[in-house]
């Protein structure tokens, strides 16, 4: 892919020596070694002469010369240079391999301009479009995982279309988004994560970046350095990801056609372990409809049909299922059957993606067009899918010799349906994993006949409503949920820009780039009338639209004052206008329960419309000065003066964002380059920022909404139109956050570029971090928002890329080794003990900012310990809860590392990416809850103790094991009980039901459920073969066919006991490391076919 971008860069500038016919003529074809595609525009020169040509659109060339022992030199930017002796051949075909170290590599800077990487004073990471596509991920974001050092990606989960959290160089803000700015072809685009404020429940939301077709991407630059990002000022605090899409090239009029098809099969990769030994009930006995599984031992039952109450006392009617069976209230469990509730709602998901692209051009114009269709069925058995259609046209033409007009335009249509998750009575896992192992969820509904024989059709049955007699399912049966609740999203998006480039003189170019990104996302949520989420049902429909216009105007002047001194200056202007609108309504309580979604099917009092709108305007002027000395020292200075609408009239509103960087290619001074052939030191400093969210400057007055802690709500609308002043007081002097960063590093290449090494160290400090600050509630307000915190990040990044083997037969083995570590610290919170992050989880079990600690630390309740580490115990020897809450874990990794190995031999290629995170913790709230419910695997332990111990060892409720009524006495006088014996320093105690349903369980304490979440995974293995030999081409008239097979997440090693720890309940929010019944991640096998014509 790289070669195509490079081609774009050089196609207008490389040219063209005249060809003088002499005695001999040789012709041939130049193709790419890796995929067999033909290479137009390759320089072909007779060595030692100025005699040369370039290959045509089909890679063909013809050259004449007179030298007797001519050697042809084939060179092409970004590819290895090859010398071939002609001898007596009339035809010389050449395959050029990618230059793995990418000599003279160019990268795209933050403004979207192509610059040589070796002159940069900072180190962006480049991920090629090919690498993203080969990952087999449907979305660009997940395709980046493990492929750029220091780019931390966490999937929102394995649901189709789920978005991802991106973190570049650590979190540097608390209140605002930590997601980087995405710039595509010079135009900022939305990567919104629209969670509707639903942070611990709802569905796995999408990231809007994934609306793009990965096959359209030429390359992605991850710009981590503040100095390189500073031209985006207050939008660049989290770094910038610059995406360049594919362009057409000069093919002398020929149209290149490429088709690719991918078929993927996806499965759940890891689910929490559950016990299947003990049944529904409590105190070792079956209890009808009880939420917990502290019942009898299933294996000790008699077997056969359960005993039903079919009449008389306790008769509560029955449910008649479609298969003719009936289920009554159970008086005694006899059946010994158990069920796997971890995977019962999942299937092998799959997707099929078809992509076709056309490209071509001539000397003046080029065009690239593509269409793709993706159709995915998720791993959840029903109502879980993702469909994406994209179309793109990128075209450019020289209107005159000096004026170039280019336009890039893409359309996306994305629709999806998802099942809810998380802290949600209708989530798959919440109801599913809590289901007792002896309850069969596969009977989901039937006709319920009450004790008087009155039928209710389509009644949901669940383990808390086993025969349909209760009003409510308690927790929804997951197999019922997936067929009855729907959550759709339909996105239509237009994204594009037009660029006019006017080369006014040889040294001065004017450029204008105007773009738009506009989408609408129509979301619906249908909650069936029988769902526990909201008894009576609810329907919510909303349309979210976002649109931004962006204009860049700039002039670039270039001047060389001498061979050793030159420079360029860019002066420009940027104007950006973003609008957000959300309009929708909710209707609660269906009049006709099973009607189609229609607000008319609710009481008018139960319809709640809502709307929201924001406008953010940013205007800036900027300058970018580049100077180079002696071909070895490169200096870059940038500055941006920016004003934004998010500050009120009382605040200062013009802010400056400067940067400076220096690169020194010290190897220019060295005579002997046989070992070290290239070396560069670089150092930079830059300031970037983050705008305040809009409208923080004024206090709002809204219709009254009194929401008490547990959810109960009273609204002014129902009480004669009450209005109230907001509890958040406006801050009229809010300023942007500012991140200052210094960075230094070096880039080295050894042995004629066989080995490249890059290292970077940085330190940054964000000041004026915007924070919701508590105000003493007795002042009449609860909080405000202020520039009240500071955060520092420091880190190291290494990339080592050796080519171990490179034989003349065409075998290569190269490795890309990446390592990064970051250390983050909240320096000041202006006295606040802790700050709950957006998406921080729950009030107990959360991710927070705490002074002196890394951002995002896990926070919650824990067992009280004295300074010497001993537990504070109750009278029975059990640990007591500490009176308050505190830091209980750290989700931030120690370091991250990835190793990618590529082996190639002719058309065969094997790539394996091993990815790991060392350190980092998660709060396994899922396990905490399941321990309480008695379905966690760890609760199936049984312990036998002597009669003596049974009479003395205390249970948490103050009894002894012998007296608690939960242990069975064996023939030899010993006692067996469900649980273990523990010791917290006050002697032996029984950890049984009494303990786990109280202080030992996850609803009462968080600390013990924080687990190590380090992981290693075989993230990707791709084996592909390209058919592109001459005989194949002549036989098929195709340029090539590539077939490939890719495995994603084939192996995962982790001590974490829950689902794949590369997840977070609250998705791409700022809170990290929260696990509470979210839907699991996947592993996949993909088959891919690519045909180029």
């Amino acid at each position: 892919m790289m070669k195509k971008i490079l081609l774009c860069a050089v196609v207008f500038i490389s040219f063209l020596q005249g060809v003088q016919a002499q005695q001999r003529t040789v012709s041939g074809k130049v193709t790419a070694l890796d995929d067999g595609t033909t290479l137009p525009g390759v320089n072909v020169v007779v060595k030692g002469t100025a005699n040369g040509t370039v290959t045509d659109a089909n890679g063909g060339y013809t050259i004449s010369f007179s030298e007797p022992n001519a050697v042809l030199v084939f060179s092409f930017v970004g590819m290895e240079t090859k010398e071939v002796a002609v001898s007596s051949n009339a035809t010389v075909d050449v395959q050029l391999g990618m230059d793995v170290t990418q000599l003279n590599e160019v990268v795209v800077n933050a403004m979207g301009d192509v610059v040589p990487k070796d002159r940069l004073g900072s180190a962006p990471s480049t991920v090629s479009g090919t690498a993203i596509i080969s990952s087999g991920e449907t979305g660009i974001l997940n395709g980046l995982a493990g492929k750029a050092p220091g780019l931390n990606l966490t999937r929102n989960g394995g649901d189709p279309g789920a978005g991802s959290y991106i973190q570049i160089r650590g979190q540097s803000t608390i209140n605002g988004s930590v997601q980087p700015l995405i710039v595509i072809d010079g135009m900022p685009m939305f990567n919104t994560f629209q969670d509707n404020g639903n942070q611990v429940d709802g569905v796995q939301q999408q990231s809007r970046l994934n609306d793009l077709n990965p096959e359209d991407i030429a390359s992605v630059e991850v710009i981590k350095s503040a100095s390189a990002a500073a031209l985006w000022g207050s939008r660049a605090a989290n770094g910038v990801i610059v995406i360049t899409t594919k362009k057409g090239m000069n093919s002398k009029g020929k149209i290149n056609v490429s088709y690719s098809g991918t078929l993927s099969f996806d499965q759940v990769n890891k689910v929490p372990e559950l016990q299947r030994t003990f049944g529904q009930g409590g105190d070792g006995a079956y209890v009808y409809n009880t939420p917990r599984s502290w019942g009898d031992k299933i294996s000790e039952r008699s077997g056969g049909q359960d005993t039903y109450i079919t009449s008389g006392a306790g008769y509560t009617g029955y449910t008649q299922f479609a298969d003719g069976t009936q289920r009554y209230r159970i008086s005694q469990k006899n059946s010994t059957e158990t069920y796997d509730h971890g995977k019962e709602a999942f299937q092998t998901g799959h997707f099929l993606e078809n992509n076709i692209s056309l490209s071509g051009g001539n000397e003046r114009s080029n065009i690239f067009a593509s269409y793709s269709n993706l159709n995915q069925e998720g791993i959840v058995m029903n109502n879980s899918n993702y469909k994406r259609n994209t179309a793109r046209v990128n075209a450019s033409t020289m209107l005159t010799d000096r004026i170039q007009l280019a336009a890039n335009m893409s359309f996306s249509g994305v629709s999806s349906n998802r099942i809810q998750q998380g802290s949600n009575l209708g989530g798959i896992f919440l109801g599913g994993l809590r289901t007792p192992p002896d309850f069969d969820n596969s009977f989901t509904e039937g006709t319920y006949f009450n004790a008087e024989g009155v039928p209710t059709l389509n009644k949901q049955v669940s383990f808390r409503n086993t025969n349909g007699s209760a009003g409510n399912s308690g927790f929804d049966n997951p197999l019922w949920t997936i067929n009855h609740n729907k959550n759709t999203s339909t996105v239509n998006r237009v994204l594009g820009n037009i660029e006019l480039n006017y080369e006014l003189t040889d040294w001065l170019t004017l450029k204008g780039n105007v773009g738009v990104d506009s989408y609408s996302d129509r979301q619906t949520e249908f909650v069936n009338a029988q769902s526990a989420i909201l008894p009576g049902g609810a329907y919510t429909e909303q349309v979210i639209t976002e649109a931004q216009w962006n204009t860049n105007l700039y002039a670039t002047g270039k001047k060389r004052f001498s061979d050793t001194f030159g420079g360029s200056l860019v002066v420009g202007f940027n104007y950006n206008n973003r609008q957000f609108n959300q309009t929708g309504a909710q209707g609660v309580g269906f009049i006709v329960p099973d009607a189609p979604p229609n607000f008319g099917n609710t009481d008018p009092n139960n319809r709640i419309p809502f709307n929201l709108a924001t406008t953010i305007k940013t205007a800036a002027s900027f300058a970018d000065l580049n100077v180079d000395f002696a071909n070895q020292v490169f200096i870059n200075l940038t500055g941006r003066a920016e004003s934004s609408s998010t500050f009120g009239p009382e605040a200062k509103s013009l802010f400056l964002y400067p940067s400076a960087s220096v690169a020194w290619q010290f190897t220019q001074l060295m005579a002997n380059k046989s070992l070290l052939n290239f070396g560069k030191f670089r150092v930079s400093y830059g300031v970037v920022g983050r705008q305040p969210d809009p409208y923080l400057n004024k206090t709002l007055y809204n219709t009254t909404s009194f929401v008490e802690a547990w959810g109960g709500t009273l609204t002014g609308g129902q009480y004669n139109g009450g209005y109230s002043v907001s509890t958040t007081v406006g801050n009229p002097v809010i300023r942007p956050e500012r991140k200052h960063e210094v960075e230094g590093g070096f880039d080295l290449r050894f042995l004629q570029d066989r080995v490249s090494v890059s290292a970077t160290a940085f330190y940054n400090k964000t000041t004026d971090v915007i924070l919701p600050v508590n105000v003493s509630p007795s002042t009449g307000y609860a909080n405000t928002v202020a520039n009240a915190a500071s955060i520092e990040n420091k880190g190291l990044e290494f990339v080592v890329e050796p080519t171990w083997v490179k034989t003349s037969s065409g075998f290569t083995w190269s490795t890309s080794f990446m390592w990064s570590n970051y250390r983050n610290k909240v320096l000041s919170l202006s006295g606040a003990e802790s700050v709950f992050l957006s998406g921080g989880g729950f009030s107990d079990g959360s991710s927070r900012a705490v002074e002196g600690k890394p951002l995002g630390v896990l926070w919650g309740t824990y067992y009280d310990q004295r300074e010497d580490g001993s537990y504070v115990l109750d009278e029975n020897g059990f640990p007591k809860l500490a009176p308050g809450e505190g830091v209980i874990g750290n989700p931030n990794p120690q370091y991250r590392m990835s190793i990618g190995n590529t082996l190639r031999f002719k058309g065969l290629s094997l790539y394996a990416l091993f990815d790991m995170q060392a350190g980092g913790q998660m709060w396994n709230g899922t396990r905490g809850a399941l321990v309480n419910y008695g379905t966690a695997k760890s609760t199936d332990q049984e312990t036998t103790i002597s009669a003596n111990d049974a009479a003395t060892i205390k249970t948490f409720d103050g009894s002894t094991i012998a007296d608690a009524g939960r242990a069975t006495q064996n023939g030899d006088g010993t006692y067996t009980f469900r649980g273990t014996v523990g010791n917290y320093g006050g002697g032996q105690v029984a950890l049984d039901q009494a303990w786990y349903t109280a202080t030992g369980g996850g609803f009462n304490v968080n600390g013990p459920f924080v687990e190590k979440a380090n992981w290693s995974r075989l993230r990707e293995v791709t084996l592909s073969y390209a058919f592109n030999g001459a005989s194949f081409r002549s036989a098929t008239r195709l340029q090539g066919i590539t077939i490939g097979i890719t495995g994603r997440n084939l192996a995962l090693w982790t001590p974490y006991s829950g689902i794949d720890p590369e997840t977070n309940l609250t998705g791409a929010n700022n809170g990290r490391g929260i696990d509470y019944f979210q839907n699991p991640n996947t592993k996949s096998i993909l088959f891919k076919l690519t045909i180029t014509y």
């Binding site: 009808y288 009880t290 009003g471 308690g474 909201l534 008894p535 202007f573 609660v588 709640i608 709108a613 406008t615 305007k617 205007a619 002027s621 003066a641 004003s643 609408s645 500050f647 009239p649 509103s653 013009l654 809009p694 409208y695 004024k698 709002l700 809204n702 219709t703 009254t704 009194f706 008490e708 802690a709 547990w710 959810g711 109960g712 709500t713 009273l714 609204t715 129902q718 009480y719 004669n720 139109g721 009450g722 209005y723 109230s724 002043v725 509890t727 007081v729 508590n774 105000v775 003493s776 509630p777 007795s778 002042t779 009449g780 009030s843 308050g884 809450e885 103050g958 109280a998 009462n1004």
Partner: protein, 480 residues
Amino acid sequence: MMLASGCNELTEGYSTDPVNITDPSVIATGSFLTGAQVGLIGAYEGDINRLVGMWSGYFSGEDRQYIGLSNYGVSGRDFNGEWAAIYASVLKNTQIVKSRAHVEKNFRALGIAQVMEAMSFGLAADLWGDVPFSEAVRYPVITEPKFDNQASVYNAVQILLDSAILNLATTVPTAYKTSPDVFFGGDDAAWTKVANTLKARYYLHVRDYDNAAIYSDVSMGIDDPSGNMMAPHGPVYLQQFNLFYSFTTYDRPGYMGANSFAPRLIDPAEADSRNNAKTSEEARLNYYYYPGGGLNFASIAYEPNVLVDFDWGSGEGYDGFFGANTSFPMVTFEENTLIRAEALAKTGDFTGALDALNELRSYYDNGGYWSAGYEADFDSQYDPYLATDFLPGGIENADGVASIDALVREVIEERYITLLGQLEGYNDIRRTNNLLDIPIKVGSATLPLRLLYPQSELNTNNNVPTVGLFDATPANTTPY
């Protein structure tokens, strides 16, 4: 720089939220008044009420966090909501009403706002003792209000109520005669009686029985159930549900039951219930509680009666006390009568106290405040007590204490049941040094004697006093 100044022009004028109100002057004073009233309902009926209700023997914690909370396992964070309800939801908005009422000559809104402020500061003093008053609600001038001592806050509450009574008596322009007031539609007479009953309530809280008797007199306080200040509710979840109903039936079913002291005290099936030859509480029991469970619990001894026809098909006239539509009592004729009974008894007027008690029993004997269906289907009997009933050996004095003490005990017990589910029930227990012996959780010497100061205030205000959950508030440190 020329470009830069141009930047400002391009971005100016978009700093104000386009869909939310940032200029309060466009909102009518009456809207802020009703907004504050919603907050007041929340403060009196919302989550703290359930918490102290579990401590008071009205409810039981049956699941999850409610088990710990019911066992006094609380931290400052559990009280953030109540504190904010009082200071932000009510007082910040009544302050706006007051500041405008003078200009608009809307003395009715002013008076009502003052009554609500008195109820808010009074409640805060009841629950926490020393609380911010003189420096409260003055952001940004005062960012860390000082804590005024409880006695001075109670004093200030009386002054606020006096002022409210004067303002309610002031003639207002006709336009203000109708009011969005959700409690009484702006009826100044009704508000005046509420204000007097509140004066009596807060005098009672500081053991000033003489004044409590004066202001609870039929000529001053609420003299008829039609004058009750009731929080209205309706059938829309997340909008106007009775907050008990929202919690027990929609938000957290199964968390809170009523395996507790209060239902057993009135259940005729219980051997030591308060039913006697003159009293049958069966109707009231069933109105409050659902013996045997079966609503939100499969089976339990008692659970809060949340019946309402639209969810349970229970039929008209069977709305439970905790039903979705059931109005919640805030200041009532019943309370006023019992204040009078207690205050007179405590000042030695046995006859006056007994008359007051019997006045209430007569009301109950005629169907009381419970839904008609329960009165029709269950035993309900409240014959007048005679002085002899309180003599040693009488039906209300089995243990042979002085008559007047037996009467006080009966009044307190009647208050306990009449004020069931209300914060005033918890106030009584602390005020009377747990005269009724409400059970205390194992491992604790006393009931919690106050609320903890909220974490939100502790985090932001250096003036917060240091106290513990079992430290009585100053007003309750003297014997009852």
